[in-house]
């Protein structure tokens, strides 16, 4: 089990001594006090070090490592230059030195068992679970080439070159054969996932490059395992006994190991997703399943001698979508944090123990030529391999790997703890020069992690530097520069940079049709329907404030007052508080802006104008939306997704949708008058009833709650065929929008029966506007809602429609006889030209409508109508009067 510290009580104790100064009295009982000091009797307190030794030591080590981490981050300067992994190794060396100085026995080393069973799995699982899937699979070909061909190339060239040099006699006399060299080459060949991540996380390279290095380091495990096993058994067999059949078997075993490992991972991912589907009533242990089942996948494939890293990686990759959808939000947070914590601690411990393990004179055998040549060969061959493979790849890749990328790729080939653990695993009887291999590996690991880790960041920065002109960007540059970023990312999306490939389409189809149905909760399948959710929320919010506003003013006419004709930007939420907040924020900003920009301020002429400029700059800096490239986050072992980006996304999304709705609304205004009149009439009736509900003392405040239940129903009805894939959701929602216009366009003129369907939702009094808004999929109501409060006539309950529409003329962009499609309204044309799918959807939507309108409490309409009739006219007169005043005719 835990190899550390398990070698006798006194050594473990020593650690305790070195760390905290526990009494050096292992096993000696400590008498608590004079009064109870009778010997031989029952002892109240005993000191049993031996009893707790192992776990105690482990806990202490973890604590030390974590404390060290805190220490490192106290100084930003240090951590920004030196990678944490390097610092940890140095710390390990120091601690190891202390222990050695005290005891002269190296008792704590990183044993392969501990490493492979306890430290590596959390790190790899974390990598898989948070893998940016799309990017990963988009670059899978490249990654595989680097992982397989690259690793084999590294192993072969390094081994053979070393053998060649050995034959030349430069290394002196060693008990070593060709196979030993190849074995050494194969364990040195693999780029290490732990080291690569630790370093690359701090170097911000572009996402494609990152995923290639990262993916390579994860996937090359299969190759490493196979090469290692093959050569180890060859060495055991003895060079002469290796036949061609064995070589073929080796190649076959590569496929078995890699594909088998992947398969195990996928199977366990399936299991895991399935299990989390049914954890509704045991929420508290939900997160546990994620860890246990993925760990089992690791152990299973280890048991079958398949690639365990591949298994757990693919388990993470495959389950992430379903698990995230299935488990509750709290559980998801727990999983995220726990995973990050485990991975982060494991990484910390690994590097620290790498340092500690190096302090052990018994493992050191020095051979200058061997060590130096190994270093040279792995760097040189890595570079050559990268250049060759990239040359090949660039002929097929859409996104080319530029020379700078190649430098980073070659330089990023860090070796790490995997190599160390493998070399320690070697059997000293069969591999005669095991100690030489171990020391060389340690040197190589330290060199790559510390030296390359230190220099890669300056290197990347240096390579990218083109001009170092330092100049305060002008306002225009700032604004337009940011606009360019947005434009660029939009164009990328339109041109489809990663491309819609056939396989992905097929897969998402399959996933939607079968996998998601099996592996996701029904509720989860629905809630993935993001666009509808946002729509719903947006409209609900609007509706609430709309009603509140209406109450405040006593009418709903404010909606069409000229100042708010650009409803796009009207924020319905209570304005006063936000204004206040931002004002005070601005004040604070003011101060900090002056402080921050003090220097540049001095350089300029001091004037009020400049100060104002500064504020402007600062505001822009602060609040300009970030382009996608800047915030899009990939994978980070130490950080969790910041929520700000989501907030920004939501904000923009809301705006966009509101704007699009708006344009649909204006489209609708451009339709023909009959329809409008009919609508107007209905709307007005609805509004009357609504108004009447306010004097009734039943404030619509209660409505939202009711609406939620209705919405649930809506979703249930409308969603069944909604695709879970985000892009599709989007389109689903938008097609819905399209169907809105179509819907209203087609059924309104038909008169009562036709237009009644979309209107029923609105007509129940209590549900007033919120209902209209809450019924999200039922888009027809949204545009309607926006223009509802048009020109009501005060007295007559059944006004003449035609007159009314005449008097309500000031609608924007209204052609007198707007033929469908001929109107100038933007966005009107395309959807009316008939998209079959939109048609189909709108049909579906209508079905939903009608079904829903049956479910909705129709009965309430009548009482409301009765109420309306029974009310004295004075009750609803005032609102109308007000409305008339405010309506600019």
């Amino acid at each position: 089990m835990w190899g550390l510290g398990a070698r006798g009580p006194d050594r473990g104790l020593l650690l305790a001594l070195a760390l905290g100064g526990l009494a050096r009295a292992g096993g000696v009982e400590v008498e608590p006090g004079g009064a109870h000091g009778e010997s031989g009797g029952f002892q109240v307190v005993t000191f049993e070090w031996a009893h707790v030794q192992d776990p105690y030591v482990i806990a202490l080590w973890i604590l030390v490592a974590s404390l060290a981490k805190i220490g490192f981050h106290l100084s930003h300067k240090v951590t920004s230059v030196v990678p944490e992994s390097a610092l940890l190794i140095v710390l390990g060396l120091v601690l190891g030195g202390i222990v050695w100085a005290a005891d002269h026995i190296a008792s704590f080393t990183l044993t392969p068992t501990v490493f492979f069973f306890y430290l590596l799995p959390p790190i790899v699982l974390d990598a898989g679970y948070f893998m940016p899937n799309r990017l990963f699979f988009g670059n899978l070909g490249t990654i595989l080439l680097y992982a397989v061909v690259g690793t084999v190339w590294n192993a072969a060239t390094t081994g053979l070159s070393l053998y060649g040099v050995f034959l030349s006699g430069l290394m002196g006399d060693l008990q070593i054969g060709l196979l030993d060299f190849l074995l050494f080459g194969s364990l040195m060949a693999a780029v290490d996932p732990v080291a690569v991540l630790a370093v690359f996380e701090e170097v911000h390279v572009n996402e494609v490059l990152f995923i290639i290095v990262f993916g390579e380091s994860l996937l090359n495990d299969a190759v490493t395992v196979v090469l290692y096993n093959v050569f180890e058994s060859f060495v055991a067999l003895g060079g002469d006994n290796v036949t061609g059949v064995d070589c073929v078997k080796g190649i076959v075993s590569f496929f078995v190991v890699s594909l088998g490992g992947t398969l195990v991972g996928v199977v366990f991912a399936f299991l895991l997703s399935l299990v989390t589907r049914f954890t509704k009533h045991v929420r508290i242990i939900e997160p546990g399943f994620v860890f246990i089942i993925s760990y089992l996948s690791y152990l299973t494939s280890e048991m079958l001698s398949l690639s365990a890293i591949l298994a757990i990686t693919f388990c993470g990759i495959c389950c992430q979508k379903y698990v995230k959808a299935n488990i509750s939000e709290q559980s998801a947070t727990t999983v995220r944090y726990t995973m990050k914590m485990l991975a982060s601690s494991a990484e910390t411990i690994i590097f620290m123990f790498l340092g500690i393990s190096a302090v052990n004179p018994f493992i050191w055998t020095w051979n200058t030529a061997f060590v130096l040549l190994t270093l040279v060969f792995i760097s040189v061959y890595r570079a050559i391999g990268v250049v060759l493979q990239t040359w090949l790849l660039n002929r097929y890749r859409m996104v080319q790997l530029e020379p700078i990328d190649q430098v980073v790729l070659s330089y990023g080939g860090l070796r790490g703890a995997v190599a160390f653990a493998l070399v320690v695993l070697l059997d000293g009887d069969k591999v005669k020069e095991k100690n030489l291999f171990v020391s060389t590996t340690i040197i190589v690991v330290f060199f790559t992690v510390i030296f390359q880790g230190l220099t890669i960041k300056p290197l990347v920065q240096w390579l990218k530097v083109k001009r170092s002109e330092h100049r305060e960007p002008r306002l225009n540059e700032k604004l337009h520069g940011r606009a360019f970023d947005h434009i660029l990312s939009a164009i990328e999306d339109i041109s489809g940079q990663i491309g819609h490939n056939y396989l992905r389409d097929k897969w998402s189809h399959f996933d939607r049709k079968f996998l998601s149905r099996v592996l996701m909760r029904r509720s989860a399948q629905k809630s993935r329907d993001r666009i509808l959710n946002v729509f719903h929320e947006l409209n609900l919010k609007d509706a609430i404030s709309y009603v509140a506003e209406g109450e405040r003013r006593g009418s709903l006419a404010f909606i069409r007052s000229p100042s708010t004709d650009n409803v796009v930007n009207v924020d319905f939420t209570p304005r006063s508080s936000t204004v206040e907040a931002s004002v005070s924020y601005l004040l604070r900003e003011n101060v900090s802006a002056v402080c921050l920009d003090m220097q540049s301020l001095e350089q300029r002429r001091r004037s009020i104008r400049d100060a104002e400029d500064m504020v402007t700059h600062h505001t822009l800096q602060q609040y300009l939306y970030k382009p996608r490239q800047e915030y899009k986050h990939l994978y980070s072992r130490h950080e969790l997704t910041p929520t700000e980006d989501e907030k920004q996304d939501r904000e923009i999304f809301h705006r966009t949708m509101r704007k699009r709705l708006e344009s649909f609304k204006s489209t609708k205004l451009g339709l023909n008058q009959n329809k409008k009149a009919a609508k107007l009439y209905k709307r007005e009736r609805a509004q009357k009833r609504r108004n009447s509900s306010i004097p009734n003392g039943k404030l619509p405040m209660e409505s939202p709650a009711q609406n939620f239940t209705i919405k649930e129903k809506d979703l249930e009805l409308s969603d069944t065929e909604e695709p879970p894939n985000y892009d599709e959701e989007m389109s689903g929602g938008i097609e819905f929008l399209a169907s809105v216009t179509k819907d209203t366009a087609s059924d309104s003129p038909a008169g009562d029966t036709g237009s009644d369907t979309p209107l029923t939702g609105r007509s129940s009094p209590r549900h007033g506007p919120p209902t209209a808004a809450a019924a999200v999929p039922e888009k027809p109501q949204i545009p309607a809602r926006l223009q509802r409060p048009r020109a009501p006539s005060p007295a007559s309950p059944t006004p003449a429609p035609a007159q009314n529409s005449e008097s309500a003329a000031p609608a924007p962009a209204e052609p007198p006889e707007g033929e469908p499609g001929a109107g100038p309204a933007p966005g009107a044309g395309p959807e009316r030209r008939g998209l079959p799918s939109a048609h189909a959807r709108s049909a579906a939507a209508r079905r939903v409508h009608s079904r829903r309108s049956f479910q909705r409490p129709r009965a309430r309409r009548r009482p409301a109508l009765l109420k309306l009739a029974s009310l004295p006219p004075s009750c609803h007169a005032p609102p109308h009067a007000l409305e008339q005043e405010e309506t600019p005719l």
Binding site: Q400, R474, L475, N476, E477, L479, H480, G481, A483, F484, H486, I487, L488, A490, I491, E492, D493, I494, S495, G496, G499, H500, Y502, D505, H509, V579, A581, S582, V583, L586, D613, T616, T619, L620, Y623, L624, Y625, R628, Q648, D649, E651, I652, T656, M657, Y726, D727, E728, E729, M730, S731, I734, E735, A738, P826, G829, P830, E831, R833, L835, A838
Partner: protein, 195 residues
């Protein structure tokens, strides 16, 4: 979704499009692919709806403006028009400048054209000037809700003033170009994959 006709589908007028836009054959094929994938109903052209379906555009503050830019006149954009807009973002290559034929029209991906593309996103009424109002509208799109309308107006004023040289209270294209002359537009407005 997902259905696609044979790869060898000929792009109508492929050669002339290539000459005009400077795209390579491979890029053009890929874009044609993309075009057909976006065209959901196999209409042979794209409507605004088709582009609005792209999810990421909904969270792009300028998304709708950019969609609009694909439809300079009318409700549809065919493949040549689609590619023509994208051609603005082709990286500037050395050979472009070397083989510059003075008689030939400027390539679409020239600095001037890149800037002009951006300019017309701002210039909604197409009078060749970005008025204060137009600037304000763009700002509104691009700045978070925390910023008050007053601040926005202030910023818009300043931005216009900063670039406005002839004092007409609006930014002409020349002024726009000038205000950005120090910026590496060629690099900022290019996408690596569009070769």
């Amino acid at each position: 979704m997902g259905s696609r006709s044979s790869h060898a589908a000929v792009i109508p007028d492929g050669d002339s499009i290539r000459r005009e836009t400077g795209f390579s054959q491979a890029s053009l094929l890929r874009l044609h692919h993309r075009f057909r994938a976006l065209d959901r109903n196999k209409k042979g052209y794209l409507s605004r709806m088709d582009l609005q379906q792209i999810g990421a555009l909904a969270v792009n503050p300028l998304g709708d403006r950019i969609i609009e830019s694909f439809f300079p006149d009318g409700q549809r954009v065919d493949f040549p028009g689609f590619v023509r807009v994208l051609a603005h973002f082709r990286p500037v290559e050395d050979e472009d400048t070397e083989t510059q034929d003075p008689k030939k029209p400027e390539p679409l991906n020239s600095r001037r054209n890149k800037l002009h593309y951006a300019f017309q996103l701002y210039d909604l009424d197409r009078d060749g000037k970005i008025s204060r109002h137009e600037m304000l509208q763009v700002l509104r799109l691009m700045v978070g809700v925390q910023v008050t309308e007053e601040q926005l107006e202030n910023i818009a004023d300043r931005t216009v003033q900063e670039a406005d040289e002839d004092g007409d209270g609006a930014v002409s294209f020349v002024e726009f170009t000038k205000s950005l002359e120090k910026m590496d537009v060629e690099q900022k407005m290019s996408i690596r994959i569009l070769k």
